[in-house]
């Protein structure tokens, strides 16, 4: 409810327009991924995504204080990814896999951090492991054009991990879809 209000406000402030080159996605589980340049990115995307969709937020940024945690978890219904601790007992993908298994969708920013809005930074590997472990969840690229004349959300047709596609090739292919 509050998140919808924030989303609407952010869309007005950024004069966001939507372009869909794909039919509306099935209720889920879907994996949406997008380029990232602003804290408004998830807010403007939210009204265009099926419910429930959880944004994947870096715990090392969004869980550091009570206010950010509240914003991420309570307002925007985020799933945390703990990037700092990776070993056999801490699988950073576990919360995301569980969300997908419940039929929920995810929104990832595979650059891992906000960029300058013009160049795309190399994708992190997490989205590959997610696609490999849940091959039936379609991957929807969403390109956000951060233009001063108004932002454009461009929904592209879904893609999938190809059989035997190496990690590096897969990540490069996904990056290409957002360029």
């Amino acid at each position: 409810m509050i998140a919808d209000g924030i989303g609407l406000g952010a869309r007005i402030l950024t004069l966001t327009r939507v372009r869909r080159d794909t039919p509306a996605p099935a209720p889920g589980p879907n994996i949406f991924f997008s380029n990232h340049a602003s804290h408004f990115d998830f807010a403007v995307l939210r009204p265009g995504l099926p419910r429930p969709t959880h944004p994947v937020a870096a715990a090392d940024y969004w869980a550091v204080n009570a206010f950010r945690r509240f914003l991420a978890l309570t307002i925007f219904d985020a799933v945390f990814v703990h990037r700092a601790v990776v070993d056999r007992s801490h699988n950073p993908l576990a919360p995301m896999l569980s969300a997908l298994d419940h039929g929920h969708s995810l929104l990832l920013f595979p650059e891992g951090t906000r960029g300058d809005g013009r160049t795309l930074q190399p994708f992190r590997g997490g989205i590959y492991h997610l696609a490999r472990q849940r091959p039936n969840s379609p991957l929807y690229p969403i390109r956000i054009h951060h233009r001063p004349t108004g932002w454009i959300l461009h929904f592209h047709p879904p893609t999938q991990l190809l059989p035997n596609e190496p990690k590096h090739d897969f990540l490069l292919r996904l990056q290409g879809l957002l360029q």
Binding site: T14, L15, S38, H39, F40, R147, P148, W151
Partner: protein
């Protein structure tokens, strides 16, 4: 500095407004001379000088821009020092902190030196945050802050009824502030192409700049009031000292800097 045609448009517009203002001021002075219009005309002459200085600085490149703000910072310190003697060691420490990184520069004065807090914050940290902005946003900030002063002055003269803070700044009115907020936000939306943001967001930035600028002006006015002086100095004709003119920019520069990181 690699500047787009945007800056040319801005300065063209500013000079057009100055020519129009000077002409109107001259005609008004001829028809009904008085101290009020004389003061307005003196301000217009001051704006010619300031806008030309800033334009030359931008044309000459980043080193000239830094030199401009270092001089501004030193002059601001001189004006503060005339009022309350500053500790040389603290000032030197604050310059050092600015070189080390901007975020601690706004935290340190509050912790270290309660009596010299505003001098360190406004005269050293403020000017340091300005050239750290992208050049076009720096132009946006200075333009909005200065235009808001003009708008508040004009709206106050036209509709001013209720004083905003009678004990601190008798010339500021609620109507002037509201008019300044509305007109400056509209100007911000109009020159959104100086920012990386769409017009509504640019208007919101302008709104914030005006609020912070007014707060900065009130803080400095309160300090002047406390010592019983009217102006910080006589740097520019009709404008008083650097602190009288730049007060609105100095507090909003750090704010805009961190707002950019948030957006």
């Amino acid at each position: 500095m690699n500047l787009s045609p945007a800056v040319g448009w801005i300065f063209g517009g500013l000079y057009a407004a100055l020519i129009l203002g000077s002409l109107l001021g001259f005609l008004w002075q001829r028809r009904s001379p008085g101290p009020g219009i004389a003061q307005v005309n003196a301000r217009i002459v001051g704006w010619w000088i300031m806008i030309t200085l800033m334009g030359l600085g931008l044309l000459a490149g980043p080193i000239a821009v830094y030199a401009f703000f270092i001089l501004l910072s030193l002059q601001a310190l001189r004006e503060f020092n005339a009022l309350t003697p500053l500790t040389a060691l603290l000032v030197a420490a604050q310059y050092g902190v600015v070189l080390a990184g901007l975020p601690p520069a706004i935290v340190l004065p509050a912790l270290l030196a309660p009596r010299q807090r505003w001098a360190l914050l406004l005269a050293v940290a403020g000017p340091a945050h300005l050239p750290a902005l992208p050049p076009l946003l720096m132009v946006f900030l200075v333009l909005i802050a200065q235009a808001s002063d003009v708008f508040q002055f004009l709206c106050g003269k036209a509709f001013g009824r209720h004083r905003l803070a009678p004990t601190i700044s008798p010339n500021k009115t609620v109507e002037g502030l509201l008019g300044g907020l509305v007109l400056s936000s509209a100007l911000g939306a109009l020159v959104y192409w100086l920012t990386p943001f769409p017009p509504p967001l640019a208007a919101l930035l302008a709104f914030t700049i005006v609020l912070a600028g007014t707060a900065g002006g009130l803080i400095l006015s309160a300090m002047k009031r406390q010592r019983g002086i009217k102006d910080w100095g006589q740097m520019i004709q009709g404008h008083g000292g650097v602190l009288d003119r730049a007060d609105s920019v100095l507090l909003s520069a750090p704010l805009l800097h961190y707002l950019l990181h948030l957006l």
